[in-house]
């Protein structure tokens, strides 16, 4: 046993750096290639500025305070929309998952609305809310609502009825059945919904901010386009990628915390 343990710890010590660096190898190589191609003039800086120029642009905007201000505004819109749409999606998903009558009443209406691409509503939303923050928050809420709703609903419905029956025989109350069997059983699906929702949250926000806004990352990009500041445009796009990656990492961390039992978290 001792031998096996020391062997396995040596094994993981050797593989750990590789596992940490491997995902970054291709992006790093692409950036190096990009820098070289830009410097020897194969890529025109007006089409795609070199990575160093983008970093310079980021530093310039950070120093002027413009970068932080726009990022904060975008984050606020994203989070507000996420909280509103997410909480409505979660509550309706739980309600319809638990009660057949509620499902009968609500689900087909929800499915009808879901089949309208929410970005197609932009003209209507602008008419309703003007071009203020409420229009963008409304759109983000709508985008976030459906993945959370559908996956919560599906998660609750996929619970093995045999487990619920077992819970009843073992004397669990309705409340305990919900908190000890339904909720933990639906959690993997709910986190899948969360991941999709966060993706849609950024997507919706980008579109909403590029079409009509006077602040935010999307506005910063559109504004820079007018002045041919390609470096700022590319930086804004990279910023979205970074924030999207951050949101994804948060979900992964939640999965590690909440689903330690799940096959996806083992081995």
């Amino acid at each position: 046993m001792q031998l096996v343990q020391s062997h396995s710890s040596k094994f993981s010590w050797q593989t750990l750096p590789w596992q940490q660096f491997a995902p970054w190898l291709i992006p790093a190589a692409l950036i190096v290639l990009w820098q070289i191609l830009a410097q020897i003039g194969i890529i025109s800086t007006r089409i795609l500025p070199a990575p160093t120029q983008i970093v310079e642009a980021a530093i310039r905007l950070a120093l002027s305070g413009e970068l932080v201000r726009n990022v904060v505004v975008s984050l606020y819109r994203a989070l507000a929309g996420f909280l509103i749409g997410g909480s409505i999606g979660l509550s309706l998903g739980v309600l319809n998952g638990l009660a057949r009558r509620a499902e009968l009443l609500l689900d087909s209406s929800i499915q009808m609305i879901r089949n309208i691409p929410h970005l197609a509503l932009i003209p209507l939303v602008i008419l309703w809310f003007g071009i203020g923050d409420s229009a963008r928050i409304f759109l983000v809420s709508l985008g976030v609502f459906f993945p959370i709703y559908i996956n919560t609903f599906a998660g609750i419905r996929s619970i093995d009825p045999n487990l619920l029956e077992m819970g009843r025989v073992y004397g669990l109350s309705r409340k305990q059945l919900f908190s000890q069997i339904v909720l933990p059983g639906a959690l993997p699906n709910m986190l899948v919904g969360l991941r999709y929702a966060l993706g849609l949250m950024w997507l919706t926000l980008i579109v909403a901010e590029t079409i009509a806004a006077n602040s935010g990352i999307g506005y910063m990009a559109m504004n820079a386009r007018e002045f041919m500041q390609t470096d700022v445009v590319v930086m804004s796009i990279l910023l979205y990628a970074l924030l999207g990656k951050l949101a994804d990492s948060i979900v992964r961390t939640l999965e590690r915390w909440w689903l330690p039992w799940h096959p996806s978290q083992q081995g």
């Binding site: 045999n162 009843r168 025989v169 039992w261």
Partner: protein, 268 residues
């Protein structure tokens, strides 16, 4: 629930088995009558096994005893009290272990316990020989270990009636033998009333004080097994009882009587 004293400090305290009376019990699903006016008495602490072809109604009887289903007509009495709703004295062990994968082994065992759950859960795991697996996830256990956890979960509240719904059906032959011995040992130690539904005639004869054959919703054979424990599956008496039950289930003429009586042991 008042009969089970949760404040007892020593979880090994024995509670006596439940006395069960089934009176004119019928159960229909739509037009299909699964149980037809069944009458049955099970003494406190008795081990009764029910065998029969699939669809004969044996699992339905178990579900009625657990209170998961309600009878169409007739009544079940537990210690002279009519059963209405879930049976608070009973625990069920299912064929599929029905453990919660999001709980560790010990937390599965203590499901639904209100008092001293950690201590009593450890005790139950010790009884089934899995005390060292308390902190494992369910997915890390073998099929036999999962059923042992399910048995611990059933026994932790010291039920007065243990309902076993083909609990060993999905296990391999060797693990099944181990589990049969474990169930017998725990039954002798804790003296609960046991009701085992199985399609394994050998298992029924090995474990039960009495084997009941159900055919088309009625009891067609009610046979006491008085062989001394632990039973020897290889003995002629064991084989005779087993064949008698099989003949009844399969509707074979009792030609066996002749064959067995030809054996030297039966010629006295």
């Amino acid at each position: 629930m008042s009969a089970i004293n949760y404040t007892k400090s020593d979880p090994v305290n024995v509670t006596s088995g439940a006395h069960v009376v089934v009176q004119d019990l019928s159960k229909s699903f739509g037009n299909f009558q699964v149980l037809k006016g069944m009458n049955l008495e099970i003494n406190a602490g008795e081990f009764v096994a029910v065998v029969g072809k699939s669809g004969c109604g044996k699992s339905t009887l178990l579900r009625l005893l657990s209170g998961l289903d309600t009878p169409t007509s007739g009544q079940i009495y537990i210690d002279e009290q009519p059963l209405g709703g879930l049976n608070p004295f009973a625990r069920v062990m299912f064929q599929d272990s029905r453990l919660l994968p999001w709980r560790r082994v010990l937390d599965n065992v203590t499901l639904g316990l209100k008092y001293q759950s950690q201590q009593r859960g450890q005790w139950a795991l010790q009884e089934v020989g899995l005390a060292d697996r308390a902190n494992r996830w369910i997915t890390q256990l073998s099929g036999g270990q999962r059923q042992r956890v399910a048995l611990a979960r059933a026994l932790v509240s010291q039920p007065r009636l243990l309902l076993l719904d083909e609990p060993l059906g999905a296990l391999d032959a060797l693990t099944r033998l181990e589990m049969q011995n474990l169930i017998e040992t725990l039954w002798k130690e804790q003296q609960f009333t046991a009701f085992l539904v199985t399609h394994e005639v050998e298992e029924a004869v090995y474990l039960a004080d009495r084997v009941i054959v159900i055919e088309d919703g009625e009891i067609s054979l009610n046979l006491s097994i008085s062989l001394p424990r632990p039973r020897n599956q290889g003995s002629a008496e064991f084989a005779e009882l087993k064949m008698r039950i099989l003949d009844q289930i399969l509707g074979r003429p009792r030609q066996l009587e002749r064959d067995v009586s030809a054996l030297p042991a039966f010629q006295s």
